[in-house]
C-alpha cells in the first residue's frame, strides 16, 4: 500500500510540475493519470498492491468530495441569485449530451460481439 500510494502521489506531483511548468491547460492530477496510464501500457498490468489501493480510493470516492461540496455554504447567495440559469442550463445540456453521445455511439459501433 505504501508503494502504491507513493506511486500515485509521485504521478500527481510530476503531473502538477508538468502542467504548471509548461503551462498545460489540463489539471495536474489529470496529467498524473495519463502518466500512470502510459506507464501501465509500457510495463503491463498493475500489481496487486496498486490495484487494491486504487480500488480502495475509488470505492470511497464519494467521501472525498464532501469537504469541497460543503463549501457551498460560502456560495449560497450567489446560487440563490442564479438558480434559474443554473437549473435550465443543467437540464437542457444534460439532455442534449445524453442524446448526442448515445446517438453517435450507436451510429458508429458495429454489432456487439461481447
Amino acid at each position: 500500500m505504501l508503494n502504491a500510494l507513493t506511486l500515485l502521489v509521485s504521478c500527481q506531483f510530476v503531473g502538477e510540475i508538468l502542467a504548471r511548468g509548461i503551462g498545460l491547460p489540463i489539471p495536474g492530477p489529470v496529467v498524473g493519470l495519463l502518466i500512470l496510464l502510459v506507464g501501465l501500457m509500457v510495463r503491463g498490468r498493475p500489481g496487486g498492491a496498486l490495484t487494491s489501493t486504487a480500488t480502495g480510493l475509488l470505492s470511497n470516492l464519494g467521501l472525498l468530495f464532501v469537504p469541497a461540496g460543503v463549501g457551498v455554504v460560502t456560495q449560497l447567495d450567489v446560487l440563490g441569485r442564479n438558480w434559474l440559469p443554473v437549473a435550465v442550463s443543467i437540464l437542457v445540456s444534460t439532455f442534449l449530451g445524453l442524446m448526442v453521445a448515445g446517438w453517435v455511439m450507436q451510429r458508429f459501433a458495429g454489432p456487439d460481439e461481447t
Binding site: 500515485l8 502521489v9 500527481q12 491547460p25 489540463i26 489539471p27 495536474g28 492530477p29 489529470v30 493519470l33 495519463l34 500512470l36 496510464l37 501501465l40 501500457m41 486504487a54 480500488t55 480510493l57 475509488l58 470516492l61 464519494g62 467521501l63 472525498l64 468530495f65 464532501v66 469537504p67 469541497a68 461540496g69 460543503v70 463549501g71 457551498v72 455554504v73 460560502t74 456560495q75 450567489v78 442564479n82 440559469p85 443554473v86 442550463s89 443543467i90 437540464l91 445540456s93 444534460t94 439532455f95 442534449l96 449530451g97 445524453l98 442524446m99 448526442v100 453521445a101 448515445g102 446517438w103 453517435v104 455511439m105 450507436q106 458508429f108 459501433a109 456487439d112 460481439e113 461481447t114
Partner: protein, 240 residues
C-alpha cells in the same frame, strides 16, 4: 458548564472536529442511502453535504474552520484522480476494439454538454464564475474541480453542479435516449457515463452489465477529453 465550554473551545481549534464530522456524517449517509434502497435522490454525497452545511450554518462555524480538518480528506482527491488510470487500463482492450465509435461519441457528448451549458447559462444572465463552474459539470467530480480551478471557476460550485448533473442524467437518460431510438446497451451506457459520470452509470449498472461497463470507461475517457476541450472552449464562450 464551564468545562464544556473549554472543551468546545479546544475542539474548535483542532482539525479533529471537521475530520471526524465528515467521516461520521458520510458513514451515516451511506446507511440512509442503503435504507432508501439506492433511490436516485438518496445520494450519500448529497445527504452528507446537506447535513454538514446545515451543521455549519446552525452552529455559526465558518467554512474555513471546518475545512482545517476536512482538508485531509479533500487532499486525497488528487491521488484518487491518478488512480482512475487503473480501471481505465483494465478497459483498454475494450476501448481499442471500438475506438472508432467511442472516441467520437464521447468527444461529441463532451463538446455539446459543455458548450450548451455555457451558452445557456450566459444567455440567462449568469456571471462568469458560475458559467465557468458549470462548464465541466458532466465530468467525474475530482477532474471537474480541477478543470474549474484551472479556468477560473469555483471548485465548490463545480462539485455541487457535478452532483446535480449526475442526478439529472440518471432521471433523463431513459427519455433522452428513446427520443432518438438508441437501444444498443453499449450506447446507452456510454451516454450515461459521458453526460452523468458515476451517478448515472451506477443507475445503468442496475439494468445492464454491458451498459455499466461502457459507462465506466466513458467516465475516465470523458474526464481526460473534457479536461483538454473545456479550457479551450472557455476561452471564447465564457465572456468577460
Amino acid at each position: 458548564m464551564e468545562k464544556l465550554f473549554h472543551l468546545w473551545v479546544y475542539l474548535e481549534t483542532t482539525p479533529l472536529l471537521g475530520l471526524a464530522a465528515t467521516l461520521l456524517v458520510y458513514r451515516g449517509s451511506l446507511e440512509v442511502a442503503r435504507l432508501a434502497r439506492g433511490h436516485a435522490l438518496a445520494n450519500p454525497v448529497l445527504i452528507s453535504i446537506a447535513v454538514l452545511a446545515c451543521l455549519l450554518l446552525a452552529t455559526g462555524t465558518p467554512y474555513s474552520a471546518y475545512f482545517q480538518g476536512a482538508q485531509y480528506v479533500h487532499f486525497l482527491l488528487g491521488p484518487a484522480t491518478v488512480a482512475l488510470a487503473v480501471p481505465m487500463y483494465a478497459n483498454l482492450a475494450r476501448i481499442r476494439r471500438s475506438a472508432r465509435a467511442i472516441v467520437p461519441a464521447i468527444l461529441a457528448g463532451s463538446l455539446v454538454a459543455a458548450a450548451s451549458t455555457m451558452v445557456i447559462s450566459r444567455l440567462l444572465g449568469a456571471p462568469r464564475d458560475i458559467v465557468l463552474s458549470l462548464a465541466p459539470k458532466s465530468v467525474t467530480t475530482p477532474i471537474a474541480m480541477g478543470i474549474a480551478e484551472q479556468i477560473g471557476g469555483n471548485p465548490s460550485l463545480a462539485a455541487i453542479f457535478v452532483l446535480i448533473t449526475g442526478l439529472t442524467a440518471s432521471l433523463l437518460v431513459g427519455p433522452a435516449l428513446s427520443v432518438l431510438r438508441v437501444t444498443d446497451w453499449r450506447a446507452r451506457g456510454l451516454a450515461a457515463g459521458t453526460a452523468g459520470h458515476g451517478i448515472a452509470t451506477a443507475r445503468m449498472l442496475l439494468v445492464s452489465e454491458t451498459a455499466g461497463a461502457f459507462g465506466g470507461l466513458a467516465i475516465g475517457l470523458n474526464g481526460v477529453i473534457t479536461a483538454i476541450v473545456v479550457p479551450l472552449l472557455a476561452g471564447f464562450l465564457a465572456g468577460k
